[in-house]
């Protein structure tokens, strides 16, 4: 299982701030997890559609090639706009 969090406009589009996900067979990195979630259909296809979607793994920003392990915390969010 991995913990998945969503923020900002993506959180609103999905109607949830997060969930625990069982990784499907062969899902070993962030890009594959994103495809697994988007494959559920609407509204999850927002994960595929959102331009420049960013990801964090265990609270550090990473590329989509970052490898996943059981117990990880993954977050998906739009580009940040603080400051």
């Amino acid at each position: 299982m991995v913990k998945v969090l969503y923020f900002a406009g993506l959180r609103e589009a999905l109607g949830t701030a997060g969930e625990d996900i069982a990784l499907a067979a062969g899902v070993a990195d962030i890009a594959a997890l994103r495809r697994q979630l988007a494959a559920r259909g609407e509204p999850w296809q927002a994960l595929a559609r959102t331009p420049n979607l960013r990801a964090a793994l265990n609270q550090t920003m990473v590329d989509e090639s970052a490898a996943l392990a059981d117990g990880d915390e993954v977050a998906f969010f739009p580009p940040v706009t603080g400051g």
Partner: protein
């Protein structure tokens, strides 16, 4: 290097933070400060409020990493970063960066660096409310460009 970051809803007191950073020190010759305010961009109906969402836990560690990175690039004597979240009004302060150093060159450069990195690496998102509804603010390419000029 002494660095402290806070993520909070309350307003901050620039004078009090300046005093805390410099009290009892005689080696600090310069403190550069930056204060970011809620601005009405004037693109749509008048701005009523701005709500900042963040990623608790990651936000604090991202700000600490940015402060540490500044400390490894310049010779600094202190860094203080405060970033607010929640619902703010136009003109309200959002972010404070204070950088103390022996000389102004390091203080100015590190202060700008911290803001440039914060804009692209700290997990905050702004949503603007007007009489016509609420909209998430889009990230600006100019912010990516500002952050990338420090990579070399």
């Amino acid at each position: 290097m002494n660095s402290r970051v806070s993520v909070c809803q309350e307003p901050f007191d620039l004078a009090a933070e300046l005093r805390l950073l410099t009290e009892g020190r005689t080696d600090i010759g310069a403190v550069a400060s930056f204060v970011g305010l809620v601005r009405d961009l004037g693109h749509r109906a008048p701005l009523l409020s701005m709500t900042l969402e963040h990623y608790p836990g990651m936000t604090e560690s991202a700000l600490e990493k940015i402060a540490e990175e500044a400390g490894s690039r310049w010779s600094l004597l202190g860094v203080r970063v405060i970033h607010r979240y929640g619902t703010l009004a136009p003109g309200d302060p959002i972010v404070l960066v204070l950088v103390a150093a022996a000389h102004r060159g390091e203080a100015f450069a590190a202060c700008e660096f911290i803001m440039d990195y914060l804009k692209t690496r700290a997990p905050f998102w702004k949503k603007e409310a007007t009489a016509e509804g609420a909209l998430w603010v889009d990230a600006r390419d100019a912010d990516d460009a500002a952050a990338s000029r420090w990579r070399s």
